[in-house]
């Protein structure tokens, strides 16, 4: 299932990485923060929603004041990077799916230029009918399906990336997800 998911996600322009444990994924993110020069300057923040990959809220320290665990429209709009948890993957299209009723998740995954989406490998399901059964809405909710970066072909049908949403979608699949997140 993971192989098909990775194949389709990459075909849609996503970057897919697989890790055994939370700690490995966190290690990757540390490197990523450095590489993208995340710092406490508007435009270069990272917003971290859902306490993704954390055993408890805010328990992982990055010693980087640019990492904001308080996700607001202001911090998200000034962030280069947004990190969220995802609930499911959909193999047939390489899509990640999240109950994004909480506004923090929506802000962190839609305003920054880069979105890191954390997903438990075992939550990759085969197809749309299977996903729709999982998300049948009984109460007010918003479910977001994300397949690759934001794109447009509205000018001369030439593909351009990142018109309103993230220019990069980086999916981290973690085999044994220890943290519950939110």
């Amino acid at each position: 299932m993971f192989d098909l998911f990775k194949l389709k996600a990459e075909a849609a322009g996503s970057e897919v990485h697989r890790f055994k444990k939370d700690a490995d994924a966190l290690q990757f993110i540390r490197g990523f923060l450095k590489q993208e020069e995340i710092q406490d300057t508007p435009g270069l923040y990272a917003v971290w929603a859902d306490n993704a990959l954390m055993p408890k809220a805010g328990t992982v320290s990055f010693e980087n004041p640019g990492v904001k665990f308080l996700v607001t429209r202001d911090s998200a709009n000034n962030a280069k990077l947004g990190i969220t948890k995802m609930d499911w993957g959909m193999a047939e299209t390489g899509t990640v799916i999240r109950n994004s009723t909480s506004v923090e998740t929506r802000l962190a995954s839609s305003l920054p230029e880069i979105h890191i989406a954390c997903l438990e490998t075992g939550q990759i399901l085969p197809d749309l009918p299977t996903i729709l059964k999982k998300i049948h809405p009984h109460e007010p909710s918003c479910f977001s399906f994300i397949t690759g970066p934001s794109r447009t072909a509205d000018i001369e049908r030439v593909l351009a990336i990142g018109v309103h949403g993230p220019k990069r979608l980086v999916i981290l699949c973690i085999d044994t997800l220890e943290s519950a997140g939110q």
């Binding site: 389709k8 075909a11 849609a12 607001t72 429209r73 709009n77 047939e92 299209t93 390489g94 899509t95 009723t101 909480s102 506004v103 929506r106 802000l107 839609s110 305003l111 749309l128 009918p129 729709l132 059964k133 998300i135 049948h136 809405p137 009984h138 109460e139 007010p140 909710s141 918003c142 479910f143 977001s144 399906f145 994300i146 397949t147 690759g148 970066p149 934001s150 794109r151 447009t152 072909a153 509205d154 000018i155 001369e156 049908r157 030439v158 351009a160 990142g162 018109v163 309103h164 949403g165 993230p166």
Partner: protein, 707 residues
């Protein structure tokens, strides 16, 4: 065709932007790739079933949706007219002090001219879909349902953006996209209301499904505290699980993607960025959709999921783009929707743009018979207002065989001064346009029925009737002769009932079903009178009449006693290539041994393709030693379309040009098609270009290779 409309078509033909872009895209191939591994026919059946069921109970679904969404906390307003929507939104804006609105793409909002209405009330509504924003800045209308600014070049977009941001921008698409990101981000953050459409609305749960690639709908529904969704009631489906087939097909058919970058399924109000609950208003727009659903024929148009695939494959849309359609919805489906949502009078000229090739119908995920509905519009128009005098007289003459045939025989004599090698290459004065890019065939001096008398028939137990049709009778008797000789070689006796006449397709195509049914009636009595096993026709258009449309027009005209006869005839009718393929398989025909193998390319005429007759003629020709070299877009219309070439000569010639290029590129010795109409068009076009490739009917080619 009125003068202004003709001028707008001519002007559109001068603009190559859109057709060049669609050409570069190669939509059919990329669509096929997106659907790889999917049983597309089963999927289309499922969607058609879901949407047609919904169309029969729109009111009940709207009621159910209202209850479900209201229970979740949304405010639902059912609007009968566009004005009701405009008033609702304007009042809401005034009550909540809204002066800035951001919108994601909504054709329903275009349909009601929302932006200009809001502007009139001092409310600034900005489109955020890149294409819609471009169109808004250009003060134009969308030219395509899915890609609204497809008619504009990057240079034109750069000029528009430069004016909007008051600095000179480059023509780089990536830079233009970055400018849009920055400019529109400000608007998202400051807007007090977000307006969206919806691709699907689920009655069971009150959910809205919103599909985008840019991510603008996510921002429109997240940042402003009020969300208003305008939803045409044809977007309603009953069950949540039924989202699946529609959402599976929509992106594949629209943009050849497995799934769009973003899909949001929103049910009820969700939290705002300040912790409050969002105010969610859902407006269900009727605007004559209920009336449309009550019409047993046009209800089908509500199965449209607005993917725009019909536009991408339409040979006419590819040439003229969206603006000649004069309104919001473009192309064939747009003509139908405009007739119902706005006014039938607006579409009087538009329905004549359809050449009836049927490609749109074959790709439509909702299985809407767009050409059939356009023909139905023509039929209703003809029934209501009558056909123009000249057209009606012409069709009546065609229906009167002795007079029609006598006229053609006279014309055969009169044309002598302008005929060279069987072609009319130049016509005088106002008729010159007809022979500008394509030589016209001359009328045969000896019609087929006279030729037939000279071919002695073998007495045989196996007898078939040959239905010639007008083109073989008077333009290409040699094709009829070849057919008869081939059948004779297989030991078959051919019968030619003299009472046979025009198949009635010209009448049918003009919407004159009364005249078409008369043609069917007169032919039936002659064709069903003998002990022949089959009726063979070598014309794909006549075959359509005999196999399908006679039953259709007789049913429509309430001639029930004749329908079963027409069905009997239909079951016995075969295209020449189908029958000859069978004879070759049965080794009833022997093929010459020769060292040469001529090359051949094959054009699928629309009427043959619609019957699924594509493989058999190729296979029969290959069995006879022709080497097949497929041409690009082998199944695209050649632009003949019967009377279309006379009514829409400019469009017809542009379609022909494309076809000729593709044929010539194969460098084949022959091009073949089992339709005399296509042969008139292609043979005449090749003659004008002095091409070495010769256009021949399969019967002529096969006869040459038989012992």
């Amino acid at each position: 065709m009125i003068k202004e409309f003709k001028q707008s078509v001519d002007a559109a033909l001068q603009n190559h932007n859109l057709s060049d872009i669609l050409d570069r895209w190669n939509y059919p191939a990329s669509r096929a790739k997106a659907y790889a591994g999917i049983d597309i026919e089963a999927l289309r059946d499922r969607i058609a079933e879901i949407k047609s069921t919904a169309a029969t109970k729109l009111d009940a679904l709207a009621e159910q949706f209202t209850q479900s969404a209201t229970a979740k906390g949304a405010v639902v307003f059912r609007a009968k007219t566009p004005q009701a929507v405009l008033d609702y939104i304007t009042n809401l804006c005034k009550e909540r002090n809204v002066t800035r609105v951001v919108k994601s793409k909504s054709m329903a909002s275009e349909e009601i001219h929302l932006n200009s209405h809001l502007a009139h009330h001092g409310i600034q509504a900005d489109e955020t879909d890149l294409g819609e924003w471009i169109v808004q800045l250009a003060k134009q209308r969308p030219s395509h349902m899915v890609m609204p600014a497809l008619h504009l070049t990057r240079q034109e977009v750069s000029d528009l953006f430069s004016t909007a941001v008051r600095r000179e921008l480059s023509h780089e698409i990536s830079e233009l996209v970055d400018v849009a990101r920055k400019e529109l981000r400000e608007k998202f953050l400051t807007a007090e209301m977000g307006i969206t459409g919806a691709n699907i609305a689920v009655a069971e749960t009150g959910s809205l499904v919103i599909v985008t690639n840019e991510g603008n709908a996510r921002l429109v529904t997240t940042l402003p505290p009020i969300h208003v969704a305008i939803v045409g009631i044809e977007k309603l489906i009953e069950n949540f699980e039924d989202i699946s087939p529609i959402l599976t097909a929509l992106p594949k058919s629209a943009t050849s993607q497995l799934l769009t970058s973003y899909v949001s399924i929103i049910t009820g109000p969700i939290p705002n960025t300040d912790g409050t609950q969002k105010e969610l208003h859902i407006i269900l727009l009727d605007n004559k959709r209920t009336e449309m659903a009550r019409d047993p024929k046009f209800r089908q148009a509500l199965q449209c999921i607005r993917c725009g695939s019909c536009l991408n494959v339409c040979p006419v849309f590819r040439l003229v783009g969206g603006h000649v359609f004069g309104h919001i919805y473009t192309g064939g489906i747009g003509t139908i929707l405009t007739a119902w949502f706005h006014a039938w009078e607006k579409t009087k000229n538009l329905q004549g743009l359809c050449i009836g090739c049927g490609t749109c119908k074959e790709v439509c995920p909702g299985k809407v018979d767009i050409p059939g509905l356009l023909l139905e519009m023509r039929r209703r128009l003809a029934a209501k207002e009558g056909l123009p005098f000249i057209q009606k007289t012409a069709l009546q003459i065609i229906n009167n065989r002795p007079i029609f045939h006598a006229m053609l025989r006279t014309a055969a004599l009169l044309q002598k001064p302008i005929v060279r090698d069987g072609f009319i290459r130049h016509l005088p004065l106002f008729l010159s346009g007809l022979s500008e890019h394509r030589s016209l065939p001359s009328i045969a001096i000896v019609p087929f029925r006279e030729v037939f008398k000279t071919i002695k028939q073998p007495a045989s137990k196996t007898k078939v009737i040959f239905f010639a049709g007008c083109a073989i009778e008077f333009v290409f008797p040699e094709i009829g002769e070849a057919v008869v000789k081939i059948l004779n070689k297989a030991g078959i006796e051919v019968l030619f009932p003299e009472g046979q006449s025009c198949c009635g397709i010209p009448h049918w195509g003009s919407g004159a079903f009364d005249l078409a049914s008369l043609a069917a009636e007169r032919n039936l009595e002659h064709l069903l009178r003998t002990d022949a096993t089959h009726i063979i026709t070598a014309c794909a258009t006549c075959a359509t009449a005999l196999k399908k449309e006679w039953i259709h027009v007789l049913t429509e005209q309430n001639k029930k006693h004749l329908v079963s006869k027409a069905e009997d005839l239909a079951s016995k009718t075969m295209m020449f290539s189908e029958y000859v393929h069978f004879l070759l398989e049965e080794k009833k025909l022997l093929i010459k041994d020769t060292p040469e193998y001529p090359t051949l390319t094959y054009h699928d005429s629309c009427h043959a393709r619609q019957q699924g007759i594509c493989k058999t003629p190729r296979s029969a020709l290959q069995k006879c030693g022709y080497q097949l070299k497929e041409l690009q877009e082998q199944n695209a219309c050649c632009g003949m379309g019967g009377a279309y070439t006379i009514k829409q000569p400019a469009l017809s010639m542009r379609m022909l040009k494309r076809k000729l290029n593709n044929i010539i590129n194969t460098e084949a010795d022959y091009v073949s098609a089992e339709c005399p109409g296509c042969l008139i068009q292609i043979r005449g076009g090749l003659d004008k270009l002095h091409s070495k490739t010769r256009a021949k009917h399969p019967a002529e080619l096969i006869l040459e290779r038989l012992r």
